[in-house]
């Protein structure tokens, strides 16, 4: 079971934050087919948010075909996003860690690292499209 959290300063609406966290967990293999999401009562009892916010997030995930609600039982994961690429995550993460160490050694601070990564990521994405 995963546990949700909310970032009040992110500017992202609470319902979308919940959706993102489930997708994130699916992608990283933290959630798998058949796993149950926390019940609405559990989520609102922890985060003190409106129950409709949770329902909306779960409906959106259901619409995307990622989960399915079983009335009176709960909401369950029906699809995984972590396909075959999950095995490659480990080595890729290690390469990224080495890259980060190099960047720090070269004197880049957190903000510069994020900017460089974001910029390279976007340029590469554009090249793929082109």
């Amino acid at each position: 079971m995963i546990e949700f959290h909310l970032d009040a300063r992110s500017g992202v609406s609470p319902y979308l934050q919940l959706v993102h966290q489930v997708r994130h967990a699916l992608r990283l293999g933290l959630l798998d087919e058949g796993d149950q999401l926390p019940t609405v009562k559990q989520v609102v009892g922890r985060l003190a948010i409106n129950p409709n916010t949770v329902l909306k997030a779960y409906r959106e995930l259901e619409h995307e075909g990622l989960v399915s609600a079983r009335p009176g039982v709960g909401t369950f994961v029906t699809k995984t996003l972590s396909d075959d690429s999950l095995a490659a995550h480990g080595p890729l993460r290690r390469e990224l860690q080495r890259w980060l160490t190099k960047a720090r050694r070269a004197g880049l601070d957190d903000e510069s690292i994020e900017a460089l990564f974001g910029d390279t990521f976007r340029t590469a994405a554009l090249e793929v499209v082109a």
């Binding site: 609405v40 009562k41 609102v44 409106n50 129950p51 916010t53």
Partner: protein, 298 residues
């Protein structure tokens, strides 16, 4: 049943002072409503009118599809937690539950016991020695154990510390997720309620400034930032709620049903708190300068 609270031209006067005027509202069922406004804006008056503790001076008010009355049938369907969450200091927690069970025909002891278990209150403890947070939780438990269809809470978290405030709202949201109950809670601080409410009613200077579904309100308001310009030059559909200008720049908060196409503006979404503050300032300004008749040019 479609609406839980309907008011039409509702007003209440104390002597010469209007505590509430021209209040017209139609709040749909199943919402958690934030009733927000500065102290003295009329929030408590509106809640007291809704539970029949006050009579209207003008207009009408109804709850759960019926005119407000003090019949046992209606009292049984409306739960009310007054400001400062009053309890009987000399009575124990268990006494309060016994009293609740005795006085309310629809009393659901299972709900009461479940709340008590979660709160881990000692049944023999006198209510007078409870902490502010525990007292608020006891008052909430009493109000929900009668299984109301509408639950009204007047500033329930105002006097609580941040932790107790959070615990109270957690408990309240659990109840909202489990029971078919509509909730109206007031606060002078919108930040407390921003995440729990899906409907907003803003009172300023005895009048309703804004009322509606939070999602819709957020979708129809935008902040526009751009080169300085005259607000009269905006398209007809854009209603300016608040404007500030420097010699080069204008920052506006506008209400609009249409998307903003003008490329001169940087368009930003607004938060509930931004909205409330802008409308509150608008309402307070209108109060200071009540009518253009007084606007003598000098």
């Amino acid at each position: 049943m479609s609406s839980v609270l309907e008011a039409d031209g509702l007003g209440r006067r104390y002597g010469r002072r209007w505590a509430l005027r021209d209040c017209t509202l139609d709040i749909p069922a199943g919402r958690v409503v934030a009733l927000v406004g500065p102290n003295g804006a009329g929030k408590t008056t509106l809640l007291h009118l809704a539970v029949g503790l006050l009579e209207p001076t003008t207009g009408t008010i109804g709850v759960l599809g019926e005119k407000v009355s003090d019949t046992p049938a209606q009292l049984g369907r409306v739960g009310f937690v007054a400001q400062e969450t009053p309890v009987y200091p000399a009575l124990s927690v268990a006494d309060h539950l016994r009293l609740g069970a005795h006085l309310n025909p629809g009393w659901d002891d299972r709900v009461a016991q479940e709340r008590m278990q979660q709160l881990q209150l000692d049944p023999s403890q006198r209510a007078g020695s409870l902490s502010g947070g525990q007292r608020a939780q006891l008052a909430l438990a009493l109000a929900v154990a009668k299984r109301p269809k509408l639950l009204l809470l007047d500033e329930p978290v105002a006097s609580l510390d941040p932790l107790a405030r959070r615990e109270f709202l957690q408990g309240l949201m659990e109840i909202a997720s489990e029971q078919e109950v509509s909730v109206i809670l007031s606060s002078h601080l919108v930040a407390d309620l921003e995440r729990v409410c899906d409907y907003l009613v803003l009172l300023t200077a005895s009048r309703i400034q804004l009322a509606g579904e939070v999602e819709e309100l957020l979708a129809t308001h935008r902040r526009l930032i751009g080169p300085r310009r005259d607000i009269d030059s905006l398209p007809a559909g854009q209603q300016v709620i608040e404007a500030s200008h420097t010699d080069r720049q204008s920052t506006l908060l506008v209400h609009t049903e249409e998307p903003i196409h003008d490329p001169a503006w940087a368009v930003e979404e607004v938060s509930v708190e931004d909205l409330v503050l802008a409308y509150m300032r608008q309402g307070t300004a209108a109060q200071r300068d009540p009518s253009p008749v007084w606007g003598v040019k000098r």
